[in-house]
Amino acid sequence: MGKKFVENFQVVQNTPLNSTNFLIKIQSEKKLPEMLPGQFVNVEVKNSSEIFLRRPFSIFEVDYSENTISLLVKILGRGSKSLTEVEVGTSVNIVYPLGKGFTKPEIDDKILLIGGGSGVAPLLFLAKESGLTADNVDVILGAKTSNDHINVNNYVSFANMHFTTEDGSLGEKGFVTQHSLFKNKLKSYNKIYACGPDGMMKAVAKEAKAAKLFCEVSLENLMACGFGVCLCCIEPTSKGNLCVCTEGPVFNINDLKW
């Protein structure tokens, strides 16, 4: 395992991206350690009498020159809600960096990133850090309606962005696995990365497995500690029950019992 920290960061930005997603940027006084796409932080939710444990969020962006980390926080329940109410200037305590990242793509890889819900964050980070030309990176993001999608204009130089919505209000209508790229061109990729709701990832994994493609997914199992001591976040794998927080959150689908 690598060195980990418990540290107070200052909130420098908290911007609603749409009705349920917020971009929260936090800044450290210290130099940040290296962080990889797929890794996450465990955030203390203060000011709420109902929340006892921390809440894990993927690292969405890192600016090493400004010592900032950005999180993409989707309101799901009480903790995420409370977190989206933090004010600029106040402090937020995080444990970081946690977990293992995605396998870094090779320079000549053709990769497909498939995200839904809060799974968007690690994938966009991966797109940006992949080191590939935009042509080699396709991203399919799925959501209910166009309003549930966030603006990804900043990413068009890193990847080709594609969308699906259940109501057809943006991109192709349907689920991500019904997108034309996914249905018709899956085999043209040699690495698939997916993050999102369980059902979505399982559907992706099924097709990727059938096509014998390299495919990694990032799991969001419930966590208590986030650094491997409680054994609450386990996922059954071919190597037994593994902790998602330390052996994941990224797993190769061949290791999962899906």
Binding site: I51, F52, V229, C230, C232
Partner: protein
């Protein structure tokens, strides 16, 4: 300089703050954050004779000021521990204490025998209070005859200090404490988790795969504190207190109630530095109260 040393039987601890079993892995994970030699001791994750996969996911549910867990003693078994983990951790400069678990008395004995020969294991904590296993575990810890029996047999093969970890899920915890004291336990530690349950009202399903699980965290502190105080007044062997300790004040309360040392569990999930902060906080308290030694506060509650 205040003296933070405490003794459990013949074993001296550099300070009274340990991490609780199941909440600090096999100690290695904590080294990602700090030098564990600052800790009084580390209770290793509950170990069994054979590999255990533990219970199915989900194993955790957050509750008001606490959490339920249903890990179910997941571990790779004692042989794996001895071969693969022990060599990596044996040189940590703190007391490593094994937490031994079995479904039968025979299993407890065999396991203890294997642990007892490990030089750098400072003591054995006999867990007869795990609420998350189908066989053994808490069943041993909630009746006097069975608690006595397993303690007696393990005592025979255990040359190290033997700490028996008690279950709070009983009518009278002092009866169990006295029973294991009579069989030669060097110390009792309490409390393990309370059997609890959580439900997802919308889905109408339990939140844990096992339906019930063990409650820990600040929610249980008042009950744990009462039990430590009762047991302290009922037995002569030293008591190790735990249950919801989050800061130095909590730890001091347990010591005032009679604990010779404390264990910090769930708090570690919130912040792995809490055990260290507690050590500093105890030192500050002793200075503020002009006391020379932490032993002066053990059982020092004024009634």
């Amino acid at each position: 300089m205040v003296d933070l040393r405490v003794k459990i039987g013949d074993l001296e601890f550099k300070n009274p703050v340990m991490t609780a079993s199941g909440t600090s892995g096999f100690a290695e994970e904590l080294t990602d954050f700090y030098d564990v030699s600052k800790l009084g001791g580390i209770l290793l994750k509950g170990t069994t004779l054979k590999n255990r996969d533990g219970n199915a996911y989900p194993r955790m549910a957050e509750t008001a000021s606490g959490m339920l867990n249903a890990v179910g003693l997941q571990n790779k078994g004692v042989d794996y521990f001895i071969k693969n983990i022990y060599p990596r951790i044996e040189n940590y400069e703190t007391h490593l204490i094994a937490n031994v678990n079995g479904s039968t008395v025979e299993e407890y004995i065999e396991l203890t025998e294997k642990i007892d020969v490990l030089k750098k294991i400072a003591a054995v904590e006999l867990n007869i209070s795990c609420p998350n296993v189908k066989e053994g575990g808490m069943a041993f810890g909630i009746s006097c005859p069975s608690a006595a029996a397993v303690t007696r047999e393990v005592r025979k093969v255990c040359t190290k200090p033997l700490i028996v970890k008690l279950s709070p899920n009983v009518t009278d915890v002092t009866e169990i404490a006295k029973a294991v004291e009579a069989q030669g336990a060097d110390s009792v530690s309490l409390v393990n988790t309370f059997l609890g349950m959580a439900i997802d009202a919308e889905k109408r399903k339990p939140l844990l795969s096992t339906i019930t699980g063990g409650l820990s965290g600040p929610a249980i502190k008042p009950i744990a504190l009462r039990m430590v105080w009762q047991v302290y007044n009922a037995v002569k062997i030293p008591v190790i207190g735990m249950g919801g300790i989050m800061n130095a004040t909590d730890a001091i309360e347990f010591m005032l109630a009679g604990a010779s040392a404390v264990q910090v569990g769930t708090a570690i999930f919130k912040d792995p530095f809490i055990p260290l902060n507690i050590i500093d906080g105890i030192e500050a308290y002793l200075n503020r109260h002009k006391l020379n030694s932490v032993s002066e506060i053990i059982g020092a509650l004024v009634i």
